[in-house]
Every structure is written in C-alpha cells, then in structure tokens.
C-alpha cells in the first residue's frame, strides 16, 4: 500500500452545492437520504404507468451534487465515486477523479455533479474509493414509494 490513506471528513448528496468564490466556502442545499418516486400525472389527468420510476417527488434530485471533504491527501491521489445498488452490488455509475494536495494538512473540499440517480425502489450507496479498491466511506440513499403506497 503506497502513501498515507486519506481520511474522509464528509460525504453528502444534495440538490445543489454553491461556492462563494470570494471566501471559497461551500453552501450545501437540500441534503437528502431518501428519494420518493411516484407515477407521473400528465396534464390531461390520465396516469401514465409506463413512465413509472422516471419522476421524482419531494425535491429536484434529478442531477444532484456530491459534496466531499478530505484530509491527509498528500501529493496526487486517485479516487472514485461509485453509485451501487446494495441488493446486488450492481454499479450505476463510476466517476474517477484525482486530487493534488501539496500539504496533507490542508482540507480538500469540492462538489462533484452526479448523473441522474436511478429511482427504482431499493437502497443505494454513493461510495468513495481510494486507489481503485480501498473504501473510504459511503452515503446511503433509499428510494421508496410515497408514504401510503404499498411496496
């Protein structure tokens, strides 16, 4: 194993992450861990069952952001963000990125745009992996029907 293993301080999924360019501060808005899906209701009032699982409710989480904060990143380090369905460990997407930090004491914070999240019922995890194989942490998201609807 090469180098110091980075430490994950925070991993969040939110509707939006803004950054104040003057101070560098991140503003994380609409953090969520549950997504509700419902059947789309077109304007003519009919219910289109074929579009089930495509429409979300409760928040605009179609293309959310991941906010992450790391410490103990020394030099150039490779990371991956994976979105995994925990029932069968199927991977929906994988984002590879690298971080170059000259001082490992510096906190490394960023926001990464995510692709649309699947809205099929189940429990998922956004996982941060170091060097392709070493897990640093994960963030769970459940997709479920709106309350009152049977699974």
């Amino acid at each position: 194993m090469a180098g110091i293993k980075p430490v994950l301080q925070a991993l969040l999924v939110a509707d939006h992450v803004y950054q104040d360019k003057l101070t560098g501060k991140h503003v994380v808005c609409g953090v969520f861990g549950v997504m509700f899906r419902h059947v789309a209701t077109p304007s003519d009032g009919t219910v289109d069952l074929s579009s089930d699982n495509r429409i979300k409710s409760g928040f605009n989480s179609g293309s959310p952001f991941a906010f992450l904060s790391l410490i103990d990143v020394h030099g150039e380090q490779k990371f991956s963000l994976r979105y995994v369905r925990l029932r069968d460990d199927a991977v929906s997407f994988n984002i590879k990125f690298k971080v170059n930090s000259p001082d490992r004491l510096n906190p490394c914070q960023t926001a990464i745009a995510l692709p649309p999240l699947p809205v099929v019922d189940g429990v998922y995890a956004l996982e941060l992996i170091w060097n392709d194989v070493e897990p640093l942490g994960s963030y769970r998201i459940s997709v479920m029907p709106p309350s009152g609807e049977n699974l």
């Binding site: 991956s80 199927a90 997407f93 994988n94 984002i95 590879k96 930090s101 000259p102 996982e127 194989v133």
Partner: protein
C-alpha cells in the same frame, strides 16, 4: 501562503445494463502471500503471491461465478457481508 488542493475529473461512466458489479473482497495476509474471498458471494475464494495478484485473481473468480449463475438463469445468492476482522476489505469494480 496556502496552496489550494487541485481537483481534476478523469472520467465518468454510467452503466444501465447491469454489466458492472462491485466485488467486495477481504484480503488476509498469509506467510507466503494473500488469501482472499468475496464477502457477499459464498464460495468465491482465491489467493495470490502479492496483494495485487490476489485482487486480480478474486476479480476473475467473481466474474466467473456471476457468469455461471446468469448462464444457468439462477439467482445470484448474495448474502450480507461476511468480513473477517483480521482482513483488509477491498471493493473492486468488475466487468461481467
């Protein structure tokens, strides 16, 4: 003066056909190398003279097991992760 860390996105890949899985494996250091097993798929074991070789071998064994179950149209018998406390957990992205 503080030098800011630099983030750089390398690539982004999405999968809609369930062709990618995450193989969760546990590496155990032995006298002459590493033994390794898939923590969520029973019966998938391997070994290697080095850590890298053991990871490559368990990836192959994992893919072979998944392909075997799917070719026989059998459900894959996922289980809750069985992690040996003395081992090192690795999460490997594999193509099936």
């Amino acid at each position: 003066m503080i030098t800011e860390p630099v983030f750089e996105k390398i690539e982004q890949t999405t999968y809609s056909d369930h062709s990618r899985y995450e193989c969760r494996a546990v590496l155990i250091k032995e006298d002459d190398g590493y033994s390794v097993y898939a923590s969520r798929l029973p019966g998938v074991h391997s070994q290697g003279g080095s850590r890298k070789e053991a990871i490559a071998n368990i990836s192959e064994a994992f893919v072979a097991a998944i392909e075997s179950y799917t070719s026989m149209s059998r459900d894959i018998p996922w289980r809750d992760a069985d992690v040996d406390a003395s081992g090192e957990e690795v999460w490997i992205l594999v193509d099936v």
